[in-house]
Symmetry: C2
Subunit: 143 residues, 2 copies
């Protein structure tokens, strides 16, 4: 039996599954999205670097023990080739009616492996001020 399951879908699908797993506090689903590579890296905002499955899993287990995280990835900028997708996003988190005085920027990197697209890097950090609003260029606006 393979140690990991074949997961279908594009890098965008893996990213959606990642934030969905966080929302559901589903640690196993979350960890299944990472590549089978002990050099994978996860950096939480303002925290030290975590390397490899054991370290990454232990900290997520601790975070998710108090419930799911509801994060919406927004304002995607991506560079890619046939085997890689490098995503830069703003992690939008509910603040109720308050204007947040910081925002979180995340880098998510996906590599194409034998088992499908998998995450190899999550680097999140805090930036000052509310997230800048980028102009949205939508096809619908051209009509």
């Amino acid at each position: 039996m393979p140690r990991t399951t074949l997961i279908h879908g594009s890098p965008d699908d893996i990213e959606a599954a990642y934030y969905d797993a966080l929302a559901r506090a589903d640690l196993d689903a979350l960890m299944a999205l990472w590549a089978e590579d002990e050099e994978i890296v996860c950096i939480h905002p303002g925290a030290q670097r975590l390397v490899g499955h054991a370290e990454i899993r232990a900290v997520w287990e601790d975070i998710l023990s108090s419930g799911g995280l509801h994060i919406r990835p927004r304002q995607l900028h991506a560079t890619q080739n046939m085997m890689t997708s490098v995503h830069s996003i703003i992690e939008e988190i509910d603040h109720g009616n308050e204007q947040p005085d910081v925002h979180v920027i995340a880098t998510n990197v996906y590599l194409k492996t034998a088992m499908g697209w998998r995450m190899v890097m999550h680097h999140a950090s805090v930036a000052p001020g509310a997230a800048p609003v980028e102009a949205v260029v939508s096809g619908a606006m051209l009509h």
Copy 2:
């Protein structure tokens, strides 16, 4: 005439050239190491996200106007495939004899382009405490 120059070398060579360009405050050399892609992203510690050559260049120009930055990339963890190299490093900066109370973690992503290996992402952020010291496994220690 091509807009960019062919640069030879591995992702490690590009990374060395990047920190060398910072040390020499050589803005043109620095910017030549980035991919010709307007989705490239640069995030300085505690700062907002910069997207594309113009934004990235303008901020580096401002930073380097007061002189070179002497940074040593240390404790590399890397994941890669034939067309991509994802580096996680600690950016070691001289603090004299003082023990620093923070350290900088950086993610550098390199893609293989028609013009050679180029940077598409630099994400640096601050973590608390001095940089953890990792066990060094060296061939020389086995003798």
